[in-house]
Structures are given as C-alpha cells and as structure tokens.
C-alpha cells in the first residue's frame, strides 16, 4: 500500500532529524561547559574592576574634567543635546541560528533600547548599571525647546514617528531608496546611530533594517577572545575621543543559569559619576595616582571598557550555547514523540489493510458457497 510506504519514509526522515538534533545538543553541551568555565573564571576580575570603578567614580565626582571618559549627567545631557556626536550601539548576538529565541530576544532588547521613547520599561532587567534609559528620561525633562537640525541628538525624537517627521515638501528622497528603518522611524534619528555587531545574525538583522553598521565581527560568538574585545574597545575609544560618538551602549545576553538568559543593555561610555555617588556616599577618600590622575585614568578606563566587552562576550557565548542546548534537546524530544505517533499510525494503517484483506477473502469464500 502506497500510504504505508509514505509513513515509513516519514518515520525514517524524522529519525534522521532526531539524530542530527541529538548530535547538535551534545556538541552544544560540551562547548557550553567550556564557555561556562571561561565565564566563571572571568567573573572575579570583572567584579573587582567594578568595585574599583565604584570607589574611583565616587572620588572623581566633581573632577570630571580630569578625563574625557567621565562626565556628570548634566554634562552628558548637554553633550547629547547640542553636540554633533552619534550614538553607538554594540550588539552581541550569535553567528548561527538553531538556538531557540536567543537572537530574536537580543534584537528585541536592542530595538527597545535604540528606539527607546520614554515608555515604561517592561523588561525586568534594570540593573544598577543600566543608565541608558535613565539618561533618556533625564534628557526628556530638559528637552523643552529642541533646536532644529540637532533634533536627532535628542533621543526619543523617534517616538513621535510620522507626526514629527520633518516633511519638507519636494526634498523627500524617493521612497525606493528609503530603508526599512528610515521608513518606520525618523530618518534623522537613524542617521545619528552607528552599530557594531558581533555575530552574523546580528549583522544581517540590522543591515536589512537599514542601520549603519560600522564594523562587524563574525565567527567569534561561541568562543570569544580578549583580542577582539580589545579591538572593539580601541575602535570605540578612538571614535569617542575624536567626538564622533557621544554615547556607547552595549546590548548582550546576561547568563544567569543554564535555563535563564536575560537580554541586557549597559551604558559603556561616558561614565556618569552621579550614578556612583548616589550608591555610597560614605567612601569619599582621596586617591594617590602614580604617576598622575590623568594618565592613570586614561589608561585604566579604556582597559575597563575592553574587559567589560570581553565579559559580555563570555556571557553571550554561554547564553547562546545554553539556548542551543535547550532548543536542541527540545527538538530531540519532539522528534521522539512524533516518531511514536507515526509508528502508532503506521500500525493502524497496516492493521486496517490486513483486516480489509481478510474481509475480502471471507467475502469471496462466502460468495462461493
């Protein structure tokens, strides 16, 4: 019976897929163990660096002119509103798919952050270092009279989408050339954004939407090395120092446990001293800098940037692999279930065929009598 053969073929193909997903599960599992070890080894360093930064920033409050990397919130708002610098976003996602919703969760968080318009934050990830949205809210308050031409610098201009989009008659470019992002959001706003992407998925996602990707890194998402983090940090510092960018935000997935990975956004530059002062007022102590404050801070803060990016890459790698592990073991389980169902169906059809044949024989024999 043709039907029987079809079912047999399907069972075979599902079993083959199951073998593949099972193999991918095991590969992800072993790589995940390595990625988790790397992350756990990195944690003490990152924690210690953060402690030092806290103490330093508390102490540096009021002396923001000593380093270009640190500012008060007021200065930062001033800079973002009236400066010509762009916003830079570093998005860390995966190279390959088949990791469940891992990449799309990062993209969702990225869009939430990039196109943040002041609506209440529904994600539950607001860590104490998530200053990006705070900054926006602060800008919003003083954004009474935005200067035309510099409106893009005022974040959240995008929120008013069509309504506030400058529609100067005639000068509108042909819609064919408008990218998706520019069609849906404010063209000026999109022009004021630069992206650095890690992972093929992130690059293609944001390229399709017309964002300006200034640099992308492929093939390093599963096994990040410090060298690339350093490269990214150097690029960011160079652009920040030259004044091309005023604000750097990183979007990555924080690894909480093997079954929980949370997309997170973190402001990398500038470091706003106000946020640290509020945390521990008690520890205001003088520091000695060898050889002097300016050169130590200007060496230390870029280094801190690189280690932070490296830490985030390790978090992202562990998250990616654990997501893939979960996705693949689910796929294997589902395949198993499907094979069971198909087997049952196959037997039913086979039995129906046999019953049918017996009926025919009995019917034939009865007819002969």
């Amino acid at each position: 019976m043709a039907n029987l053969q079809n079912i047999r073929r399907r069972i075979k193909s599902v079993k083959n897929i199951q073998k593949i997903t099972n193999a991918m599960d095991m590969i992800a599992r072993s790589r995940f163990n390595a990625a988790r070890d790397a992350l756990l080894n990195n944690l003490p360093y990152v924690d210690k660096t953060r402690d030092i930064i806290r103490r330093l920033m508390t102490q540096m409050h009021g002396q923001e002119d000593k380093s270009p990397f640190i500012m008060t919130r007021k200065q930062m708002i001033e800079e973002e509103q009236h400066g010509n610098g762009k916003f830079l976003f570093l998005v860390i996602a995966s190279d390959k798919g088949l990791a469940g919703a891992y990449s799309s969760n990062v993209f969702k968080e990225a869009h939430d952050t990039i196109e943040y318009d002041g609506s209440p934050d529904d994600s539950k990830d607001a860590t104490e270092e998530n200053f990006h949205k705070k900054n926006f809210d602060a800008i919003k308050d003083v954004r009474e009279a935005p200067k035309t031409g510099q409106m893009r610098a005022a974040r959240g201009h995008v929120s008013a989408t069509g309504a506030s989009r400058p529609k100067t008659g005639g000068s509108a470019p042909s819609t064919a050339n408008l990218s998706v992002a520019k069609e849906y959001h404010d063209a000026d706003y999109v022009d004021g954004i630069e992206l650095i992407t890690v992972g093929r998925k992130a690059t293609s996602h944001f390229q399709q939407r017309g964002y300006n990707i200034i640099k992308h890194y492929h093939g390093i998402s599963e096994r990040p090395s410090y060298q690339y983090a350093k490269e990214i940090a150097d690029l960011i510092v160079e652009r920040f120092m030259s004044g091309e960018i005023t604000d750097v935000t990183m979007i990555y997935t924080r690894f909480v446990s093997a079954i929980s990975c949370v997309p997170d956004d973190v402001t990398l530059l500038p470091i706003t001293t106000d946020d640290y002062v509020a945390e521990n007022i008690a520890t205001k102590e003088e520091y000695i800098y060898e050889p002097d404050a300016v050169s130590v801070l200007n060496d230390f803060l870029p280094r801190r940037l690189a280690t932070r990016i490296y830490g985030a890459m390790l978090h992202a790698a562990a998250s990616e692999l654990s997501s893939r592990m979960n996705a693949m073991s689910n796929a294997t389980d589902n395949a198993q279930e499907l094979v069971g169902k198909l087997n049952l169906y196959y037997n039913k059809v086979r039995q129906a065929g046999i019953t049918n044949e017996i009926n025919e024989i009995v019917g034939g024999a009865n007819a002969l009598e």
């Binding site: 360093y45 210690k48 030092i52 102490q59 410090y226 230390f300 830490g311």
Partner: protein, 141 residues
Amino acid sequence: MATIRLDIVSPDKGEIFSKDINMLIVRSTAGELGILPRHANLLTELLPHAMKIKMDGGENLVALGGGFMEVTPEKITVLADSAELPEDIDVERAQRAKQRAEERIAQYKQTTKETLIDIDRANRALARAKARLLVKNALMN
C-alpha cells in the same frame, strides 16, 4: 605583624592569589613601590615584572604580565593581564618566548626606522618572559 589582604585576579584565570600578606613590592610605570598594611589609597599601572610578596616570614614571587593595582588601607587588588604562580610556569615556553623577543629586538636595532616590528610589543614580551624565568629561578643573564 600587621597584614594586608592581597587579591590577584586575571580575566581568564579568575582569582590567582588571595591571602593576607605583610608587604608587596611591585614595579609601576612610575617606579618600584613597596606596599605595607594601612597604605593610603592608590591607583597605578603595573609593568610586566616579578612581584615580590612578603608573607609568613618568607618571600614569594609572582610573574605579572602587566596590569593595574588598586590599594586601600585594608586591601590590595591587582588586576593582572596575566599572572602566574611559580608552579604554573612553563620554563621552556618562557625561554622560547624570551629568545624570540630578543631576536626581534636585535632585528629592530639593525634595521632603520621603517620596519614592521612592533618594538613596544617585543619589549613587553621580553619583560614578561624574564619575569616568568625570574620567578622560576631560571634566568641566566
């Protein structure tokens, strides 16, 4: 004897050293520094060298590949680019690295300016290798 906590961490090996010590002697970009308990707050960059740790009446060496050091009255934190205890050092590898770095520096000195050799990197590599060998008591010259 008064003690001060010393923590050495590196980005890829985690916590390498965490003990109460009597004195730490390091080489910073500004020169040699000796840190005793209840030292004033200090932040400085460290060069690749062999750190000297005085504790329990003895002296220990740790090979440092550069980094930063923060001192508070109760605690010293060394953020190392890399750091190795004597037992973790591969002498042969360090010897080879030292040789390579020396060759490169010699090459750099022979050629005129426009070369592809990164002299800073070579110097740092040499300092790192020397620190490792020093810690391991295997430095010839």
